[in-house]
């Protein structure tokens, strides 16, 4: 820990850190200048591949490998989409980058376009970030003025146009093919795959989609090299051939019941407890943590006993969570009702389900209604099994949906009920003493407002 020096947040906190002048004064765009002069696109791709950089958007797919999926010798155009539709509850690291150090992101995006031979880049920004919009747009304008964007960048034969596109605020637009549909001006219904975006994406052309923080990491890999990047983080588990290792610095968003919530940079593999204690100043009000969300609510829940789980790409999965996700840790203290937590989570996913696939559209809405009934004092023990059945049957993993939104909706249900079943049962017994064990179908309720 002591030797770790933040790089992604290095400029954050300086005056006018969002301007080109300040960014360049700390070495900004030198990596771009050097790369365009000295490296071929294939070299840069190899460099990123060698760094083992894994996407920071949530799934953790190796970025360099993703780039190599693009068809070779494609006549073009190839598109680059920077996914700035940061909507996972609890997550705000992209926002810090875009507002405080947008040039770091843009330099990474230009480098990534160079590596993938993309000639047009779109930054898909969620509507709720007006500050990011202003800063990013100003930064893009500065880059055009300085010759970092446009025709023949820095005298090379590489040209790139970058556009900032604001979405209309929907969680599903952060799913990569939903983002593409939205960018094309359509309803953001994720596409069926294959074809994958690398083969046929935006406007039916090969497309790369990367997260904002991934772009910032590319900047630092180009600046400091792959070895530096691999010196940080957790190496691959030799016993698990599918583990590609978790390298590099990571921005952790810490929120919830801690003394000092915020966005902190740490090497991948820091444990949840270290994050809470060392950065967050511990759980607030001298209470104890009851549970924590490891990486946005779609990843599930860690119990208090599981807080020593390392927050790298494979750590949360070992204790039954979906994965690292966006590394947004939300701490719940001992006063929080897990029933309320799950209700909130179900409300979010029922609201954000795009409505394309039947199991997700109906499953998320149904689970919300059950939790509403439960909280209204009419829960039954049988509901828990039904909720688990819904949780186990929706999602891309059992194969019942097109995209992963349903997995994200299912994991909090599965984790909360399996890890806190006693609490659910106590709640139901206490609030519905006369009907908790009835198993006949519940008489139909007038719909409770949930939208």
């Amino acid at each position: 820990m002591a030797t770790f020096e933040p790089v992604l947040l290095a400029n954050v906190g300086r005056d006018d850190s969002h301007t080109r002048a300040v960014y360049e004064s700390t070495g900004g765009y030198e990596a771009l200048r050097r790369t365009l002069a000295e490296m071929s696109p294939a070299d840069l791709t190899e460099l990123v591949k060698a760094s083992n950089l894994r996407g920071r958007g949530g799934a953790g797919f190796p970025t360099g490998v993703k780039w190599t999926f693009l068809p070779k010798d494609h006549p073009g155009p190839i598109y680059m989409c920077v996914n700035a539709d940061e909507s996972e509850p609890g997550t705000f690291n992209n926002r810090i980058l875009m507002e405080e150090d947008p040039h770091q992101v843009i330099e990474g995006a230009i480098l990534s376009c160079y590596a993938t031979r993309a000639t047009t880049a779109y930054i898909y920004l969620r509507y709720e970030y007006p500050g990011s919009y202003a800063r990013l747009q100003a930064a893009i304008d500065e880059c055009y003025a300085a010759g970092y964007l446009g025709k023949n960048i820095l005298g090379s034969d590489f040209s790139l146009d970058m556009y900032l596109h604001r979405g209309a605020a929907a969680y599903i637009c952060g799913e990569e093919t939903g983002l593409i549909e939205s960018l094309e001006g359509k309803r953001a219904w994720p596409r069926i795959k294959p074809p994958f975006p690398a083969v046929e994406g935006l406007f039916h052309k090969p497309t790369v989609i990367n997260n904002v923080e991934t772009m910032a990491c590319v900047t630092h890999i180009a600046r400091r090299g792959a070895d530096w990047f691999k010196s940080i983080g957790t190496p691959a588990d030799p016993n698990n051939p599918r583990d590609a290792g978790s390298y590099g610095p990571k921005l952790y968003c810490l929120s919830g019941h801690v003394n000092k919530p915020g966005c902190y940079e740490a090497p991948l593999g820091i444990t949840c407890r270290e994050l809470i204690d060392n950065f967050g100043g511990g759980v607030w009000k001298n209470r104890r943590a009851k549970a924590a969300v490891p990486g946005g609510i779609s990843m599930g829940l860690l119990t208090a006993d599981e807080l020593d789980t390392p927050l790298d790409f494979s750590g949360p999965g070992r204790v039954g969570c979906l994965g690292l996700g966006t590394a947004a840790v939300v701490v719940l203290d001992e006063t929080v009702s897990i029933v309320d937590f799950l209700h909130n989570s179900c409300r979010f996913f029922a609201h954000e389900s795009c409505g394309q696939c039947t199991p997700c559209r109906e499953g998320t809405a149904w689970s919300l209604r059950m939790l509403e009934r439960m909280r209204a004092g009419r829960g039954r023990l049988a509901d828990l099994d039904l909720l688990l059945e819904i949780g186990d049957s929706i999602g891309i993993m059992p194969g019942t949906t097109i995209c992963g939104l349903a997995d994200g909706a299912a994991w909090p249900i599965k984790n909360a009920i399996r890890k806190f079943r006693d609490e659910f049962e106590d709640f139901i017994r206490r609030t519905n003493p006369h009907g908790y064990d009835v198993t006949e179908p519940v008489p139909a309720l007038v719909q409770l407002g949930g939208h």
């Binding site: 929907a170 309803r187 219904w189 069926i192 029922a350 609201h351 954000e352 389900s353 795009c354 409505g355 394309q356 696939c357 039947t358 199991p359 559209r361 109906e362 499953g363 998320t364 809405a365 149904w366 209604r369 059950m370 009934r373 039904l386 059945e389 049957s393 891309i396 993993m397 059992p398 194969g399 019942t400 949906t401 097109i402 179908p441 519940v442 008489p443 139909a444 309720l445 007038v446 719909q447 939208h451």
Partner: protein
């Protein structure tokens, strides 16, 4: 040749065929349930009803490796070695869950729903659903809203398969329908002020797997299980869409398109779909009549008609026809090939020099083509092409109607046989007056007209739904229609009149006539034998014949 295994049934599919799991399973006789997939529309794989297990068989070792998760059969291509499992517990559980999900908000108002009886949701629930209802939500009510002049939407019955939305985007190209809102609240809707108003709009009702989209013309008219469907051909234009006529007790309730990849694929236009009402018009003429010779003595020239039974009137007609002298006949393009052949044969048998003319061919506007190639033809009759082919067998000189009207005064005909059968008025007073000098005018029609008033014999005919026989569309495809309803009392199928007057025994059998045509008229050689329901392309034979003719350098009248 790719080998695909579906539930241990192994089938072979051709190298040039691209089938998905649903289509491959259908070849093996296995039905995979689905809502959103339709062969004529793009694949969205969103209803998740067609989920199956799939895997690959190693060609060399024969080992099968299955995927751990379920996949939508509609989106999974059937390749060499592909294995589909459609009946496992995992698949059945997934189907039951989808059925349960779809019924959470569904009003389950089958007793008042037109779709009941042919509803995918009903059928699949009985087949794949698990009995009880576990959802704790009172289903929505049957909210209904208009989406266009012919189509109405029962919002809560919808299962969001988006077939209709894709239809308006991909087939009609008009994009009126869209999905509104998100998640479980989403609904099909139109943009305010832009109703579903295109000439293919009725098809969205056909492709709706549930009762969400209702046809206003058919709404609450008939339970589907009371109706019988008959294979037929639409007579609205010279495209000649393959259709079903659905009737109950001799009343037509609706027309539905019948799949025919050579003509209309899965679609038909609204002009054809809603154009059948004239069949049951109270203005139809019925009852055979003979004109009574009026005496000139009192100067009273008002024609008078007496009702005569069909048998005596035809005997009488036959006798008068035999001594009438020169004959002429006007063939309506609504007659079938068989009828045209029989009438031509009848007239030719009496007078080998008889003048044969084709009745008015209605042309309205211009051909209208849609993005997928579906075309509504301007020529609003089904058998113009068929008449040309049949009549040119009997004479080198087939007259158009205008020509015929011009030449009529010069022919000195003894009798003229005119057939009508048009849904709309087809002859005006001025044209009809050209027939004033015709001593013996035989009329077959379904509505009164200026010419009907001048007829010596009035023989009421039938409309398309009662008429069996074949039509040749503008691309020389011959298709055969069944009769769906019986003619109204007092009317007779035109063909049966000719059949009887030609002395043929028994009931009118168009198939026997068509066999005779195929044997004697070279252009119809392809029509021999039992025909497939999609019809045959007569040109196949003509190409061969043209090649032969070119080779032998001999001119032939065909």
């Amino acid at each position: 040749m790719a080998r695909v295994i579906i539930d241990s049934v192994e089938i072979e599919i051709g190298d040039d065929e691209r089938l998905n799991g649903i289509q491959a399973a259908a070849r093996a006789g296995i039905d995979i349930p689905r809502y959103c997939w339709h062969p004529g529309l793009s694949v969205v794989a969103s209803c998740r009803m067609c989920l199956v297990e799939t895997g690959t068989r190693n060609v060399e070792t024969g080992d099968v490796v299955m995927l751990p998760k379920l996949v939508p059969a509609c989106q999974t291509p059937a390749r060499d070695g592909t294995v589909f499992i459609t009946q496992s517990d995992k698949v059945q559980h997934s189907r039951a869950m989808v059925e349960e999900d779809l019924l959470i908000d569904h009003p389950i108002d089958c007793p008042i729903c037109d779709k009941a009886g042919e509803c995918y949701l009903q059928d699949y629930y009985f087949k794949y659903g698990h009995g009880g209802r576990r959802a704790d939500v009172r289903p929505f009510t049957s909210r209904r809203r208009d989406v266009g002049p012919t189509v109405t939407l029962f919002t809560d019955r919808c299962v969001m398969c988006t077939r209709c939305v894709r239809f308006t985007r991909e087939i009609s190209g008009t994009s009126e329908l869209m999905v509104r809102d998100r998640g479980a609240h989403e609904e099909i809707d139109i943009f305010s002020g832009f109703p579903l108003e295109n000439k293919l709009a009725g098809n969205v009702v056909d492709i709706c797997p549930v009762g969400a989209l209702g046809d206003k013309d058919f709404l609450y008219q008939q339970r589907v299980w009371f109706m019988k469907r008959h294979e037929a051909v639409c007579t609205g234009c010279s495209t000649g869409c393959s259709i079903y006529v659905e009737e109950n007790q001799d009343r037509v309730y609706r027309l539905k398109p019948r799949e025919n990849e050579h003509v209309n694929q899965w679609w038909m236009c609204d002009e054809g779909r809603y154009g059948y009402h004239y069949v049951h018009s109270p203005k139809r003429v019925v009852g055979a009549q003979r004109r009574v010779e009026t005496s000139e003595e009192n100067g009273d020239n008002v024609p008078a008609y007496e009702n005569v039974e069909w048998q005596p009137i035809l005997d009488d007609l036959q006798a008068r026809l035999a001594k009438a002298g020169r004959l002429a006949a006007v063939f309506s393009p609504h007659l079938t090939v068989e009828e045209a052949y029989l009438l031509a044969k009848l007239v030719h048998g009496v007078d080998a020099e008889a003048t044969l003319a084709i009745g008015p061919v209605p042309v309205v506007g211009e051909d209208e083509s849609y993005p997928n190639g579906f075309t509504i033809r301007a020529e609003k009759c089904p058998n113009h092409r068929g008449l040309q082919l049949v009549l040119s067998h009997f004479t080198d000189r087939v007259l158009a109607f205008d020509q015929f009207l011009e030449e009529l005064p010069n022919i000195d005909v003894g009798a003229t046989w005119v057939t009508g059968g048009y849904p709309q008025p087809w002859i005006d007073e001025a044209s009809a007056s050209r027939f004033d000098e015709v001593p013996l005018l035989i009329m077959q029609d379904i509505f009164a007209s200026p010419l009907w008033e001048r007829a010596s014999y009035r023989l009421p005919g039938v409309a398309f739904a009662a008429r069996p026989g074949s039509y040749v569309n503008h691309r020389d495809r011959l298709q055969t229609a069944d009769w769906a309803i019986r003619p109204p009392a007092g009317a007779r199928v035109e063909g049966s009149v000719y059949w009887q007057m030609l002395g043929m025994s028994g009931l009118y059998r168009p198939q026997r006539v068509l066999d005779e045509i195929a044997a004697t008229v070279p252009a119809f050689a392809m029509a021999a034998g039992p025909l497939p329901s999609v019809g045959v392309d007569l040109r196949l034979n003509q190409f061969a014949e043209a090649a032969t003719a070119a080779a032998s350098e001999t001119g032939d009248h065909c």
